[in-house]
Amino acid sequence: MNPFSSAQSGFIDRIDDNLCLDAKLAIGVLEGFIRNEVNKVGFSKAVVALSGGIDSALSLAVAARAMGPGNVLALLMPYRTSSPASRNDAEELVEKLGVQSKIIDVSNMVDAYVNEYELSNIRKGNVMARARMIALYDHSEEFTGLVVGTSNKTELLLGYGTIYGDMASAINPLGDLYKTQVRQISEAMELPESIVNKAPSADLWEGQQDEDEIGFTYRDIDRLLYLLIDERWSVPEITSSGIELQFVDQLISRVRRNQFKRRPPIIAKISERTIEREFRYPRDWGV
């Protein structure tokens, strides 16, 4: 299904042009962001969970530039069903960037829980993501490095991630970049082609592919999200431009349903000054 088949090519080209970033400029901002945020809280090192996918590869590469490769620890945390190709890609990237690395097989940790119960793929995937979070934060303590996140804007908006799992981080350089922009910047940073070109996968079970699971390509999703979020187009405006209503409805409903994942837990208001409501210091207040 091509939800843009009735849209005019000039219209699509304009969206694609706007989604296209000045990669050099963007990389500079991200690099400065990581260095500033890490140093500000008294750290000089960073930890990144590296799967072999494009998002974690980009986070790692930018962190290495920002902090120096010797100050960055890449944690490879395969489960026994994880793709060996991704593992190879991850190891290749570690070598290329010259960062420190450690392999932690989470199979025993995950299976200790999983084997107690009959878990669906989704539940098992969540357990894996949270097991990795435990190892990641534990190594953040050991390495005295801040956890640099890997969730991009597309995933955050779709809620395509595990809350308190892969969504957990101290700082997130990719959260305002759509998936297609992550790809563009990764190319500009000359990350290995095998990483840039592979089909996106959360790799939580064998053969899992993001675009199959979500039902649309990242290219189409990003075009629509860009119109909805960045340019604030209304649904009638979007559908009258030839984009399929069903696609629009499905995506909006997904973005809405997953709002909870993007916000801290809600606090029952009792007092005159409630955390997050009237008690609103910037996060940097704490440094």
Binding site: R232, A268, S271, R277
Partner: protein, 285 residues
Amino acid sequence: MRDVRIGIAQINPVLGDIEANVDKHLEFIRRAVDDKCGLVVFPELSLTGYVLEDLSYDVAVDIKSSAINRLRECSGDVSIIAGFIHHTSDHQFKIASAYFEDGEIVHVHHKVYLVTYGLFDEGRFCAPGDRIRAFNTKFGRQAVLICEDLWHPSSMVIAAGDGADIIHAPAASPGRGVSGSSQQLGSSRTWHDLTRTYSQMFVNYGTFANRVGYEDGINYYGLSQIVGPDGAILAEAPADEECLIAADLTDGALRRARISTPLRRDEKLELTIEELRRIKTERSQ
């Protein structure tokens, strides 16, 4: 004024779902008709819910929209005050309460004092209203002020000075402050003090139409009131429950209050205007 039974629909709107809220309005309108009310007052932003933030732009409607028309159509049986985000023709977004009577909108009030402090952030999303007016209805002269408008006594001076016999305060007042053993939320105590004191001092009937329910951790406590021109509480809603309360407002009671406490008769409007003009001139110098 004409004698009239008025009701307050203390409801829990669904955040951001205008159609569901119209359905809820119609249900409470039917109940008000059954209860022989001539007018039913809904809380602030009753058609949209309160903590809208960016949703303000999505739920905003103009007064010709189908949601508004559905209310207009049933205002022959009972007059209605309902709240929404008004999307104006120049693309301003304003917190509004409209007065529906016999198939027409006879008045729209835009909230003048947007709350942008504490837990409130209205000024980030909405434009303020620029006028306060009383208006004529088949029951007499009335005025609508929305929530924070009432926290500025000047709003009441204008509404009463403009001849309103019934002054409505649709509100979305969150509960906050449970200190000590007051057995009452700090915010509800302030509201009840306001409603009673204003009605007594400006000698008018007053409504405080608050909502109930929770939004993003904020609790709206209800406790809506209808107050007489002597400050007497004529009807009071329970806390936290959706309900319809009603009271009979009579011209006779208003007449007696205006005789025994002739504050309106003695009000020196000209003096107030002159002094305010002087203050304005001196401030601008």
